[in-house]
């Protein structure tokens, strides 16, 4: 074991925490988005069951947030190694990448949940709101995509 100041035994801890926080916080945001917009869909579908197909879109977008976290967690997990081949610097990079996509996904999931809940309830009464709801959902989704871009950019350092 060639452990040194650059390759301490706790180096991989940061990478593991980065991979874990990427998927944990993204899944937290996706779960909140699914649950919050799911209550809106359930309340709306009682009166307008023909709009189910349109109103599933917030749930799909919340699921995509979790896929962002999954991609970064898989990328980081693929690069983890023994402490001798894993410098502390790379651990910090991976922790930063995981936190970037995790908290961006959490924020995007919250936004998708609240917008989806209000959006599907409003679409039931005014169908022309649908385009506006989709646009707002896309802008919420893009917040998670920014986190993913930063995470992938950090990962290539």
């Amino acid at each position: 074991m060639a452990l040194s100041e650059e390759n301490p035994v706790y180096g991989p801890f940061f990478g593991v925490m980065g991979a874990a926080s990427a998927i944990i916080f993204s899944a937290l945001g996706a779960a909140y988005g699914t649950a919050k917009s799911g209550t809106g869909i359930a309340a709306m579908s009682v009166m307008r069951p023909e709009l189910i197909m349109k109103s599933i879109i917030p749930v799909v977008m919340a699921g995509i947030i979790a896929i962002y976290g999954l991609v970064v967690a898989v990328l980081i997990s693929g690069n983890l190694a023994e402490p001798a081949e894993y410098p502390l610097y790379r651990g910090f990079i991976h922790l930063g990448a995981g936190l970037a996509v995790g908290f961006s996904g959490l924020a995007a999931g919250f936004a998708i949940g609240i917008v989806g809940d209000a959006g599907v309830r409003g679409t039931a009464q005014q169908p022309r709101l649908f385009v506006g709801m989709i646009l707002i959902l896309i802008f919420a989704e893009v917040l998670g995509l920014y986190g993913l871009i930063v995470a992938i950019y950090l990962y290539t350092k």
Binding site: M53, V60, I64, V74, N79, F130, I152, T156
Partner: protein, 85 residues
């Protein structure tokens, strides 16, 4: 009503499975077959390009679902007489 709800269920199920399966299979297919076997790129570069490819496929699938939901919902907008009070 039952046939249309079955067809809506089939459509939603088809697109959900597609949205879940397509990015994951794209990631591993492009990483293992395309980048590492055919092009011989390094591990980090093949990981990153596979991730980007899978995210692009994911958004194409999402766009297809939104287009389908938009066009379908416009088609069946006016059959409200089967509402149960």
């Amino acid at each position: 009503m039952s046939t249309s709800s079955l067809s809506i269920f089939k459509t939603v199920l088809y697109y959900s499975v597609f949205i879940i399966i397509a990015p994951i299979s794209t990631f591993f297919f492009t990483k293992i077959v395309f980048f590492e076997k055919l092009l011989g790129t390094s591990s980090v570069a093949s990981n990153v390009w596979s991730a980007i490819a899978s995210i692009i496929v994911l958004h194409i699938a999402l766009g297809m679902y939104i287009m389908r939901a938009y066009s379908d919902a416009n088609k069946v907008k006016s059959d409200k007489e089967d509402k149960v009070d």
